[in-house]
């Protein structure tokens, strides 16, 4: 159920909105409480923590064409004069500029999505420990095994003159990291499960553990890739990373406002092979970024970004939508209550195609199956892309050779990469265990994924 503290502050929020509306044309109050249960079982360190990751409020006001915000711990004894005084700017450098005010429709609703499993700390610790011990028994080159269970319980309230919304939703991640050593060579491999159900997340964690260790051990013999252009097949995590970096960041519409996104000139034009469809939205699937309303109080959407290779539209928060004269898409997100809202991705993924995975592998003369997201970086202005896969498996004449390369950096021009997609598998997997920064800060939970994709790319 909704966090009791937030529930107890709804009336205070309504009172504050009423008072501040005497000074401003628009007022809203967002309250957030995010609680994390983190259970760590590892070779050397164990811990169980219940951490209130964030708990506080942000008051948004609008007057004379400008929005201002005030973030604080509590609103019960907060005087409206404190908000007015803190956000008042007497003299500040700025050219004339007025943003339109968001017109809201009346909306009152309570949303709830909770973890159906009722597992105790002891039960979870036992499951993690069993896997840790089993992996250590399997191979003595394993020098550190760490399993981390995290349940994130998010409660939010949004109150304005026309809206009164509440939501509570849970998400669970179980991560495993294997560090192996042979002589002076140290390698590691990880996998993270993301589910709305603890029991399911732990089940997958257990099932995947032997393979995660096996890959770590194979990485001991992995070689660097010879830089060059190759045929690649991307696994769903790398497909998701490409979706996220190539067109996710590129269609965040606060970038359109700043004229920082090349995508603004390509709406209605081909940006990818006609086999490509791409989506983003908190309601587009059930994953790490599936909420019911965003931090502007806008309901979750499912936005189709690319349809049959043609760029359809971007995603936006309220402020960007007001500046561009478009509708917000429920993508306004904050790192926490003390930070600004930006347009952010949620669950971003490529849609399925018609090809079979086996046929895709058979079709490769010489190339690599690229696996497991490591990290990536976007360049929405100039459409350069850089994605790192943890490892690649060599394919020659349609068969795996047993050779492994690691790590592998995919780089190039976004349109070249997406236009080269020639096969798309028929199954989609979305990975709900990642975080994403905007530029170099503002971390939020996201998911991404897709089918297996066959493309041509520069590897280094």
């Amino acid at each position: 159920m909704l966090d009791q503290y937030l529930k107890s502050r709804i009336k205070d929020a309504e009172r504050l909105v009423e008072k501040l509306q005497k000074h401003y044309d628009y007022v809203s109050v967002l309250g957030t409480c995010v609680r994390n249960k983190v259970i760590l079982v590892s070779t050397h360190v164990n811990s169980i923590d219940d951490i209130d990751n964030e708990c506080g409020f942000v008051i948004k006001v609008y007057k004379d064409g400008r929005y201002s915000e005030y973030s604080c711990n509590d609103i019960r004894d907060l005087k409206s004069s404190e908000v007015i005084r803190s956000v008042k700017l007497d003299q500040v450098f700025s050219k004339d500029f007025k943003v339109k005010m968001l017109e809201e429709q009346p909306h009152r609703e309570d949303y709830l999505r909770e973890d159906p499993a009722r597992l105790s700390d002891g039960e979870i610790t036992r499951e993690l420990t069993e896997v840790k011990d089993a992996m250590h028994r399997k191979d003595e080159r394993l020098i550190n095994f760490a399993a981390r269970y995290m349940k994130r319980e998010t409660s939010k309230i949004f109150v304005s003159a026309k809206k009164r919304l509440t939501q509570k939703y849970d998400w669970i991640n179980v991560m495993q990291l294997n560090v192996v050593r042979e002589g002076d060579v140290i390698k590691s491999n990880y996998e993270a499960e993301g589910e709305a159900d603890s029991a399911l997340a732990l089940q997958k964690f257990k099932k995947h553990a032997p393979e995660v260790l096996d890959i770590a051990l194979r990485l001991l013999k992995a070689k660097p890739v010879k830089p060059g252009k190759y045929t690649i097949i991307t696994d769903p995590s790398i497909s998701g990373l490409i979706a996220h970096e190539a067109f996710g960041h590129g269609v965040e519409m606060d970038m359109f406002v700043k004229n920082r996104a090349k995508a603004v000139d390509y709406v209605g034009k081909y940006v990818a092979s006609d086999l490509v469809n791409m989506y983003d939205g908190a309601s587009s699937c059930l994953s790490a970024a599936s909420y019911f309303f965003d931090d502007d109080g806008i309901e979750a959407h499912n936005t189709q970004i690319i349809k049959n290779g043609i760029l359809q539209r971007g995603i936006s928060d309220s402020l960007s939508a007001m500046e561009l004269g478009t509708e917000p898409t429920g993508n306004g997100r904050r790192q926490d209550f003390s930070r600004k809202v930006y347009t952010r991705m949620t669950n971003t993924w490529f849609g399925p195609g018609k090809d079979k995975y086996e046929d895709m592998i058979k079709s490769v003369k010489h190339g690599y199956l690229l696996c497991q997201t490591n990290n990536g970086m976007e360049d929405p202005k100039n459409w350069q892309i850089q994605c790192t896969a943890s490892y690649g498996l060599e394919i020659k004449d349609g068969r795996f050779t047993g050779e492994m390369i690691a790590p592998v950096v995919i780089s190039g021009y976004v349109i070249d990469l997406l236009s080269s997609i020639s096969m798309v598998s028929d199954q989609v997997t979305v990975h709900g265990s990642g975080m994403c920064g905007k530029g170099h800060k503002e971390w939020v939970y996201v998911s991404d994924g897709g089918p297996y994709l066959k493309a041509e790319a520069k590897l280094g």
Partner: protein
């Protein structure tokens, strides 16, 4: 929010708690967000965060659990949280290690009164003073002016307090070559308002954006083999961070260290000292997360691994006598070489610096580099560099120029050979 003494009374009332550490931070900030040269939104932040680490120990084992105190808490709810934390600490046992004892308590509160709105306004003026070019402009700017008060109290009698001030600027400069627009990224951080320096830094990044708009590719410029590659800023911090992490108690205890004491890191001698406070480095701090009052430790001497450093837990597990604490700043001292007359390549900005700590693989896609062909600098873009840091360090050289970054002070450039350029 509960007062400090109320929180401590609550902790002391729970007799099952063996030890505790309490950290409290107050933050007050003003933030300005610009699109081009107009203010899009302004923000004010006034928050307090409080965290308690609860320890339950016997002779052989210790368990700990974290509790955060929020505005929602009162004596009753905090007492309940502490009870639950005790249960969790008992469930998650670890090998015993003692918490640090009191040595000296730091009282570093200057109590400076500042008008944050006024400072933020002056910072904005300094940023836009550099916005004077026809073909180049500041596309967007975020300004954060913040003051913090920190307190650390532990059951071992440690009681530190300090205050700090920080200006952060995130700026995106853009330059048009009439066919296309090119942008770069600048993050500036300082613990004192130096408005002239802010204008100079923004001007410099605008000029680099101009270089990027005129940059050529490797198809147009042929680079000689065995070219010296100079790296700076973000990548330098990543490299030094990787090397120093290798010599932490934690990595040594877990056998995740590539170097041990006396191992040669480089044939070219350099010293690497971990320090608590270096003027200009905003990561500086005088005590760590366990309250240890930090003292400098030279971990690399004349190119050889010299000592380990790190936190109380792993220092204790390694039975170190003089545990250094988690030192935040790295200072490198080395003899600089003259490089300016011979051909070289300076990597100005990466898309995102990459470092795989297990293997030492490093590199990334280069957004802007400058190639000196013996006569002039030619801006380059659209290529990648890669190497292995453990191999590359063996014959690393250093520039005479110095730079001070968030957690680094030392040569402005590390100069590498045998770097793959593709």
């Amino acid at each position: 929010m509960m007062k400090k003494n109320e929180i401590i009374s609550c902790i002391k009332a729970n007799k099952k708690i063996t030890d505790y550490e309490l950290t409290i931070q107050n933050k007050n900030s003003r933030e300005l967000f610009y699109v081009l040269d107009h203010l899009e939104i302004n923000r004010a932040v006034k928050t307090t965060t409080a965290k308690i680490e609860v320890y339950v120990a016997d002779r052989k084992t210790v368990g700990s659990s974290s509790v955060t105190v929020t505005a929602a808490d009162d004596v009753k709810s905090l007492a309940s949280k502490l009870n639950k934390a005790v249960t969790k600490a008992k469930q998650a046992r670890n090998a015993y290690y003692p918490l640090p004892e009191k040595t000296v308590n730091i009282r570093d509160k200057k109590g400076v009164k500042r008008d944050l709105n006024d400072i933020a306004g002056k910072v904005a003026k300094a940023v836009f003073k550099a916005n004077v070019y026809k073909s180049g402009w500041i596309n967007s700017t975020e300004i954060f002016v913040s003051e913090f008060t920190d307190e650390f109290i532990s059951s071992k009698g440690i009681s530190h307090c300090s205050d700090s001030f920080k200006i952060e600027i995130e700026c995106i400069p853009t330059w048009s070559n009439k066919k296309e627009e090119f942008e770069l990224y600048k993050f500036y951080e300082s613990s004192k308002p130096d408005y002239r320096q802010i204008t100079e830094e923004i001007d410099e990044i605008l000029k680099l954006a101009k270089d990027r708009s005129n940059a050529r590719t490797l198809k147009e410029v042929e680079l000689p083999k065995d070219l010296k590659v100079l790296v700076k800023n973000d990548m330098l911090q990543v490299i030094v961070g990787t090397l120093s992490r290798d010599l932490t108690y934690r990595n040594v205890f877990m056998h995740q260290n590539h170097y041990s004491k006396k191992d040669e890191i480089s044939g070219n001698p350099f010293d690497l000292t971990m320090k608590p406070v270096v003027p200009g480095c905003t990561a500086s701090r005088r005590y760590d997360q366990n309250g240890i009052v930090l003292k400098s430790r030279k971990i690399v001497s004349k190119g050889k691994a010299n000592a380990y450093y790190g936190d109380q837990r792993f220092g204790s597990y390694l039975q170190e006598e003089n545990i250094s604490g988690s030192l935040p700043v790295c200072e490198v001292k080395a003899e600089g070489i003259p490089y300016k007359k011979e051909k070289h390549l300076i990597i100005e900005t990466f898309s995102s610096p990459q470092m795989e700590e297990d293997s030492g693989y490093w590199g990334g896609e280069v957004r802007l580099a400058r190639y000196f062909d013996g006569k002039k600098y030619i801006p380059l873009t659209g290529f990648s560099i890669s190497g292995n840091i453990y191999e590359n360090m063996k014959d690393v050289q250093f520039s005479k120029e110095e730079s001070t970054l968030r957690n680094y002070k030392g040569p402005k450039y590390f100069i590498f050979k045998n770097i793959k350029i593709s």
